[in-house]
Symmetry: C2
């Protein structure tokens, strides 16, 4: 019997964890930062400080779910049945039309797949495709952990601060030319998390041209597309490079339903039928189908609706006011730079000009900087470094601009929309006083550093 | 530029599909059978036949979702926020209490994880654990595709027809003794799909003893537990072998909410904290969280409720009446055997005694048999062979007993519950005439075979 004893079993569970790729999986950034904040909160409470934290760390739409979607989920609550793994037909049809209407992507329901958020769709695509994934740096924190979990290869494409961290087609071409026989899948997040950058049509054209030349596929993560402040300037990579682009999106940002976990993927125009078959097989294998009531609610979310359209326009304007204000306020702190966001909830604050001062304060890298700002008495939560796929030596931190009461802000905006820049400043101060104070806290932190 | 042309990109997508493990993934059985039925339907329509099919192939609760859960999902529809990857605290607490109340499993919320159905939880566990999975044969179709997708090793444990396809502890010990240094995870599905078999406390004790001896872990798939016809006879492996058992369950069977996609896993009692941490990391990496409104509905589903308790008792009785009747009716067909189900929606019909006759009719294996019964004029949909993890030479088919109007049957049962076996026969004939006709169709098919 191999000398094994009964009590050995659970020790073995502990050993079981050491499956090679588990060690590579890091704690998701939101959990890690959450733990850090809790630890700091405890440390603060020991010294009698009950300060609230300035939450620039977590990005989540602060607004309520649009009422038509809530009503639709209510109607869908009786749906207890399994559905098609790729999504119910009426939802795939509605999504197909939605992409035509908003993005001029000419598709059909047979190219649409729904998942438990775009993250799950990316997980499935990455698991299926025999390609090296190109992850720009900086980028959203979610791509790399999926690839590490899957044991799939990826390479980082360093972006230039001077170009606003947009992909330079020449750098992309150089990377692809190094290994022209290997298939690649470029992740293109537009508008961008963490910088808020928006790619112009011209830029997308140039990237598409490089991709065509090298047969590089694109995963266009356009989850923030409908939060683009000047939406008329948004161009989908699915239009510029339809034959090679997977376009992902969902309900979490522009319709504030992150908790619904409903993501979509438009497959490339020339994708063979087998691609959908394979994706469907993988989807059926790992989770059968997406929750049926949520899919029924999503039919409404993707169907023409004056109320939802108005909602999307309003929250887009509010994000624009909030994020641009905070970005400007940050850039006015001497020694600190900031990207000017054109969509989404984020911008990147740049402390690199303060490197010497920070180093003499014992702050050598982005995580040190983030930790120092989190510490008492600053209480400023941000993320940088690995959490935004930047090297530690880049002293940039992501600032999320969503720490306010979204329902009240939306109400305020609808009843009394700001009509001038002065109105906008008043709006921010009224609707998001914590964020305004948070920037002041950043200024004080920087002043303290400079005094050392 | 490597001589690549723009149009190459999509041809490459086609090639991309050939990632080694994609080829190993078979079409999920429900899709495959669905396609076969559609093809047969077309063939039938060409000869002017519009026969409806006797659907013994797909298992899904035919009953409506319990009203308290529908109301709870309605209240939860406003929940647009991300939640903890392992599940919201109040749900994990409710599940923990539920398992104490119904199964005498002494656990706490820190041992509970929720997923998008149990399938996703199994996917995550299989991906994490460095163990060879033991899949009994026959079994549910879902386990092996997950392992193939993950590229993880598994072995089949052939069960004896004469033992009602229950795991023989001696066979398990022999399998484990072959490779005592390798960690194993035994899948134990109780009550069983496809046989309807229920393990006795004594049997579970013996299996637990073998597992203790070899340090073998158990994945106790107890999704049908609360459909056990004589529920007082159900014993959870989580009670018999708490230190080494993962117990999975969910809302899809006893509460008829398959479409909600809410599964649960109770971790082993002695599992180290790192196990939950790792599971949480994997969950956060592949899908962030389970839909928040569904989790809020699930709090109600797992909390004490006279209405839901009564519902579960009623549908358990109806399943008992339906499945035992159909099993007996099948066993009365000369040359056909049938397992006597003690829980769930299924039994296994055994045509092995007709092997010679079937072979002379050109039916050599289980898939041939299934295809012959599906063909005109029989129109009988079933699954066998690979779909229930049995070798082709075993001429057994799974019969799902859920092809009836569940809402009407529940209404009938509540207003006028059968009080005798005669009443029960009348109840089946009244509430499920299609299934009764289906068994007649099987009898005719068998008579036809015997005449050859």
């Amino acid at each position: 019997m191999g000398g094994l004893k009964g009590t050995v079993a659970m020790k073995q569970v502990q050993v079981l964890r050491t499956d090679p790729h588990m060690g590579a999986i890091t704690m998701p950034e939101n959990l890690r930062v959450g733990l850090m904040i809790n630890r700091q909160r405890e440390a603060c409470s020991r010294i009698g400080c009950d300060a609230r934290f300035y939450n620039f760390a977590f990005g989540q739409s602060p607004f309520p779910v649009p009422p038509p979607m809530v009503r639709a989920l209510t109607s869908g609550a009786v749906r207890g049945e399994y559905t098609d793994a790729a999504g119910i037909p009426e939802l795939r049809e509605a999504i197909s039309n939605f992409y035509g209407r908003h993005f001029a992507i000419s598709t059909g329901p047979e190219r649409v797949v729904v998942g438990n958020g775009t993250k799950e769709l990316m997980f499935m695509l990455f698991s299926m495709l025999d390609a090296t994934v190109i992850i720009p740096s900086p980028s959203w924190v979610g791509y790399a952990p999926i690839l590490r979990l899957l044991g799939k290869s990826y390479v980082s494409l360093a972006l230039e601060r001077e170009r606003g961290y947009r992909i330079d087609p020449r750098d992309l071409a150089a990377l692809l030319a190094k290994n022209p026989d290997r298939r690649h899948l470029l992740v293109l997040n537009n508008p961008n998390n963490p910088t808020g950058a928006l790619y112009s049509q011209r830029e997308l054209e140039e990237i598409a041209e490089v991709c065509r030349t090298y047969g590089c596929l694109v995963l266009a993560d356009e989850i923030y597309a409908l939060t683009t402040y000047a939406f008329e300037h948004f161009v989908s990579m699915g239009v510029m490079y339809p034959e090679g682009t997977f376009v992902t999106g969902g309900l979490s940002k522009d319709r504030s339903a992150a908790g619904y976990r409903l993501g979509t993927c438009i497959l490339p125009a020339d994708a063979p039928d087998e691609l959908l078959d394979d994706l469907t097989k993988v989807a059926a294998t790992i989770r059968t189908s997406v929750a049926a009531p949520v899919q029924h609610a999503a039919v409404t979310a993707y169907s023409p609706s004056v109320e939802i359209e108005e909602y999307m326009r309003n929250i887009r304007s509010i994000h624009s006011i909030m994020c641009r204000y905070l970005s400007r306020a940050t850039a006015m702190i001497k020694g600190v730079g900031a990207t000017q966001p054109e969509g989404g909830f984020y911008f990147l604050a740049d402390f690199n000009a303060l490197r010497d001062r920070l180093e003499s304060a014992g702050i050598a890298g982005a995580d040190d900087l983030s930790a120092a700002m989190l510490a008492h008495p600053h209480h400023i939560a941000t993320v940088g470094g690995e959490a935004i796929m930047l090297p530690q030596e880049n002293l940039s931190l992501r600032i999320a601009c969503v720490d306010y009461d979204g329902a009240a802000a939306l109400e305020h905006y609808r009843s009394d929309p700001p009509r001038s820049s002065l109105d906008e400043v008043a709006f921010v101060n009224d609707a998001a006083p914590r964020m305004v104070d948070g920037i002041t806290a950043i200024r004080r932190f920087v002043e303290g550093v400079k005094k050392r």
